[in-house]
């Protein structure tokens, strides 16, 4: 999809989060953790590949990108089961019903920043 622009959005988001935490001023951004959903339209491998090309001149330069894949997860409104499912089979694996709510796996989120003193 648009992994390079997502990398740029990721870095801008991280820089904004850091600016909002003056207690960490001067520390080095060592790693960024991202959650990529199965139904987000974002390809984790491409994100990893492009990230180093987006970081030069930013606070994320030299930082490591840690990508966590978030499978599609549904909560069944009929039987209450909550489970990971494949992206194109969203019906409830327990009861087979398709009255489910997608509770995870449809977004791309910055979830963590590792800051270091060195």
């Amino acid at each position: 999809m648009h992994e390079l622009s997502l990398c740029q959005a990721l870095i801008a988001t991280a820089e904004r989060q850091l600016a909002a935490r003056p207690e960490h001023a001067g520390r080095r951004l060592k790693a960024l953790k991202v959650s990529v959903g199965a139904l987000s339209g974002c390809e984790p491998d491409l994100l990893m590949h492009l990230f180093p090309h987006a970081t030069p001149g930013t606070q994320a330069e030299g930082a490591e990108l840690k990508v966590e894949f978030q499978p599609a997860q549904v909560a069944c409104n009929a039987c209450g089961e909550r489970r990971d499912v494949s992206a194109n089979q969203l019906a409830c694996p327990a009861c087979g019903g398709n009255n489910v709510s997608l509770v995870a796996g449809d977004g791309v989120f910055l979830t963590g920043l590792t800051l270091s003193d060195d």
Binding site: Q17, L39, S40, G41, N88, G112, L115, D118
Partner: protein
Amino acid sequence: MCNECGCGMSYAPTSRTARAATPAATPSHETVVAVRESLFGANEAVAAQNRATFRTHGVLALNLMSSPGTGKTYLLETLIPLLARIPLRCAVVVGDLETDNDAQRIARTGAHAIQITTGQACHLDATMVADVLPQLDLAALDILFIENVGNLVCPASFDLGEARRIALLSVCEGDDKPAKYPTLFHKADLMLITKADLLPYLPQFEPARSEACLRALANHSPCLTISSMQPETLAPLVDWLVREHAALKQPAHAWKAV
């Protein structure tokens, strides 16, 4: 003592120097800050503004998404005159990489049509739509069709501020497209199987299979089989549009928030 990583050293530059002398014996002085912020946040913020603008004016905004060549433009050319009889006043924003051919075709129906030429961009985003809204007289509109760039991948990830998403699939394609492009189809509020007049020549396409793929995405939205060449097949679609437009006037209308 350090409150952050539990390394037992005071949180001060001197201790960092001391730790550097014996790096193997002490853990690195690091902090993990937990955050949770969507990387689509910038687009979503503009989409929310668009949605509020549409709601203020009582305009039903519809995002039409499909691969190239499903007949989105021809459908609008046929549909808009049918809606004018109700009467529902329509305008169209249409995205393409190049040319304003589609806008010219739609303008012949009398509807206001605005072409967004995206250059090499393969989808519309909320800002592109926001940029053209001042050209539209929203107070004189009932329905705004936003014809996205023909593409089943990227448009799915960009909320435009629409109230409803319509996914189109023509019978010239594989009938299992919803299973292949779940990101786009699972969010569709209506699926249209188009060019149904060609079904007698394409026995390998089974509309029931497309619908089964849509249901496997836990999507309960209506699925209509239509042909713009046979305007009578558009009646259920016209009914759907009338209902959705009427629902806008209800205070309890669930505006789509993506």
